[in-house]
């Protein structure tokens, strides 16, 4: 226990110190929200990895590996190819250039600049803000559960310890504190995952022995799609991979990189760093062999950690899971606070603030949103737990197509972008709620496994394409400014 405490105190102290150092560099809202567009490729790339893979991915990915076996490796491969490398290649440069041309610091701000649509700005800010808070609750809960299992601490203390440290360095140091702490957190997370994978494969007798032993339990744990089935495997891979293309806490890394040439080195670093995505699924499958009797699949990774790592290794792993959760939580806090103040308060409600007052308001908003998330996470209501399961689906369905089409198709209509958001979110929510609505007919087996994200994005895609052909493009001035031709 004392080893865990030493590692955590040193680690959390280091994060807080980074927050204090960075506080001097956050002198404007631009510094606080996007680091004054001054971040280098290593920090941008590894902080992207840390923000992408939260504690939910590590603990939840392990649970999927335990339940569904090695077919889940495809989820990790999808995270790297679609969620990371293609996102950087397809979105990175254009987002960097367009947001600078439009002087946008938030994704809703980009929608306003690109389409001239105040409605799209407000809807995106509101839907994204609400569901990111819900997502943050699940991230805090994941961290607290790990404290609970590995340190035998009560759940509430895990929420409070991690929540207070994040709130401190985020509110004090702003975006730069978030990316630099995320950089450290990514290194800790990668080291922890590599250590756990190496030690657990050693314990099980190597990769071939793992496959053979899983085969004797159930051949469906070795084959693809195996016990999961295609519908579940493909739709889950899509939501946690393509979904990142609409997640503002990840996209903001492209706004803040120093220049678009740095995206080249960044793309290589981020791809290599993101490769650890396969490890939670692989170690989850190892746990199925080594710890087959669990009351809940979510215990797979913590139980495996206790079995194969000594106290120092366990403490490093706990730090890794906490790192993954903190970096995600902090990244989300910055996004919500800058969006609420800039998009909703100033532009939506038409309030005027001086630059200094806006910076102060954004700091206070990050504290307020953090405290609200923390209080909800202490005792999450049942509805919030249900909603966390599809917060990604709602956020990605809102932003994905209006962003992608806005970057590549000059003709894209503002009304089509807005209706794509509205119908995409509605379809995703309706699809997820379908089994809970008594009077609706039951979905056939193959369709029932399809996630609301797939339905929401399919509907949003159809609406934005048809709506663009039927409607008017954005004002010429907005398009020219976005493309930098004016």
């Amino acid at each position: 226990m004392i080893i865990y405490v030493i590692v955590l105190v040193v680690y959390l102290g280091l994060l807080s110190a980074i927050g204090i150092v960075m506080s001097g560099r956050s002198r404007s809202v631009g510094d606080f929200a996007i680091g004054g567009r001054s971040v280098g490729p290593w920090v941008t790339a590894l902080s992207f990895v840390a923000a992408y893979y939260s504690s939910v991915v590590i603990i939840g990915g392990g649970a999927f590996g335990w339940k569904f076996g090695l077919a889940t490796l495809w989820v990790g491969a999808g995270n790297v190819l679609i969620g990371t490398t293609l996102a950087w290649i397809v979105l990175g440069r254009r987002i960097r250039r367009f947001t600078e041309n439009l002087d946008a610091m938030t994704l809703p701000g980009f929608f306003f600049g690109r389409y001239g649509s105040a409605e799209a700005r407000i809807f995106s800010a509101a839907a994204t803000g609400l569901f990111l808070i819900i997502y943050n609750v699940s991230v805090l809960k994941g961290m607290a559960n790990t404290f609970e299992v590995l340190m035998d601490l009560p759940y509430w203390s895990g929420v409070v310890i991690s929540g207070v440290v994040i709130l401190f360095y985020t509110a004090v140091g702003g975006y730069l504190a978030v990316v630099y702490t995320s950089f450290v957190q990514a290194l800790v997370m990668i080291a922890a995952l590599v250590l756990l994978t190496f030690m657990s494969l050693k314990k099980v007798g190597g990769m071939t022995a793992l496959v053979d032993r899983l085969n004797t339990i159930d051949p469906g744990l070795v084959n693809t799609p195996g016990v999961w089935g295609w519908a579940g495997l493909i739709s889950f891979t899509l939501i946690v991979s393509l979904g990142t293309w609409g997640m503002p806490q990840l996209l903001v890394r492209f706004y803040s990189i120093k220049n678009d040439k740095m995206l080249r080195l960044g793309t290589v670093i981020v791809t290599i760093g993101a490769s650890v995505a396969l490890l939670p699924y692989l170690t989850g499958a190892v746990a199925r062999v080594l710890v087959p009797e669990l009351s809940s699949a979510d215990q797979a990774i913590p139980a495996l950690t206790k079995l194969v790592l000594n106290d120092w290794g366990g403490a490093l792993f706990l730090a890794g899971v906490v790192a993954a959760g903190m970096s995600t939580f902090a990244g989300v806090l910055i996004i919500i606070s800058s969006s609420m103040v800039n998009d909703v308060w100033i532009h939506g409600l038409g309030r005027t603030l001086t630059p200094a007052a806006e910076l102060k308001a954004t700091r206070l908003m990050s504290l307020a949103v953090g405290v609200v998330s923390l209080l909800i996470a202490l005792k999450p209501p049942a509805l919030v737990l249900v909603l966390t399961a599809f917060s990604w689906a709602v956020i990605a369905s809102t932003n994905l197509w209006p962003l992608l089409f806005g970057l590549y198709w000059k003709r894209t209509s503002p009304k089509a972008a807005l209706w794509s958001m509205l119908t995409g979110v509605s379809a995703a929510l309706l699809w997820q709620a379908w089994p809970r609505i008594g009077w609706l007919p039951e979905l056939p087996g193959a369709l029932a496994g399809v996630h609301g994200f797939v339905v929401g994005t399919a509907v949003g895609l159809v609406v934005i394409v048809i709506g663009t052909f039927a409607g008017r493009p954005a004002p010429r001035d907005n398009v020219d400014r976005a493309w930098g031709s004016r």
Partner: protein, 40 residues
């Protein structure tokens, strides 16, 4: 049968990972060459 007694379909996840790392390297090199070509 693929390495580690896996089916090729499951082992394909590792191949996709390797291919993605190569894609990132090739894209970075092509992009740099295009930039240098544009300047000369």
């Amino acid at each position: 049968m693929a390495p580690f007694h896996l089916s090729w379909l499951t082992f394909g996840a590792f191949l996709v990972l390797g291919g993605t790392i190569i894609l990132a390297l090739v894209w970075a090199l092509v992009d740099r060459a295009r930039d240098h070509g544009g300047k000369s």
